[in-house]
Symmetry: C2
Subunit: 136 residues, 2 copies
């Protein structure tokens, strides 16, 4: 079957003459759906302190209320233990956003600012990996 | 309203006498739904080589066929750039599994072994973070 392109469609219809007034085709690069993944690993100041860990988890529960978060998950290291696995962190905080702009809204959201203000004293180190890619 | 416990239910029914033959209540700790999150970051041997990056992404596309993977995502570093963000890696590979056992099946699956055999020459370093936590 012949592939129908915009050009052949226009050439084969009476709309050809009106081509200049047709709206531009959407930019496929811009409309391609992506996901923005924000994954944060926290190391506690008192690594073995379960009360501190629980407190930070409680803080993250509150943080999950930021409305631009599409999905989030609070985790702790699994008991897998191969050479390439880093299990030295205390808490994993994974968030999905629609795009970078929605993650920026999260960064500046009052709930996020309050979270940092109230809980930052608990952690010693944070590593963030932000990644993007097409939605599957 | 009075809270109905197993004890009060049994006390208030003619089944009380048959209590010993009732099956044990499920262990709530065991039946609580969790997610196992396997997040791998790859650093390429030739970091700026887009052909190598594309090849590894193609490999991961194939790897996504392992049947115990509930959800997966292939990403590249977003262009966010704060001090705590590590954007030195080339590819992010995020997978959700039902539990640790299903991730173990993935580790030993022929598709995974073949992936390592065919693509490991491309990467210089890999960091894996495995985390678990209740499903939200």
């Amino acid at each position: 079957m012949k592939k129908i392109t915009r050009r052949s469609f226009l050439a084969n219809t009476s709309l050809a003459a009106a081509a200049v007034t047709l709206p531009a085709l959407p930019d496929m690069e811009k409309t391609k759906k992506t996901i923005f993944i924000h994954h944060v690993y926290f190391w506690l100041k008192n690594p073995g302190n379960e009360a501190d860990r629980a407190k930070l988890m409680e803080g993250l529960e509150g943080l999950s209320a930021v409305p631009t978060i599409k999905m989030c998950h609070i985790g702790t290291p699994a008991d897998t233990n191969r050479g390439v696995i880093d299990r030295s962190y205390a808490i994993s905080w994974l968030c999905f956003f629609k795009n970078k702009e929605e993650e920026e809204i999260y960064q500046k959201h009052p709930i996020h600012l309050k979270f940092v203000e109230n809980y930052a004293h608990l952690w010693e180190k944070v590593i963030v990996y932000d990644s993007e890619g097409p939605k599957r």
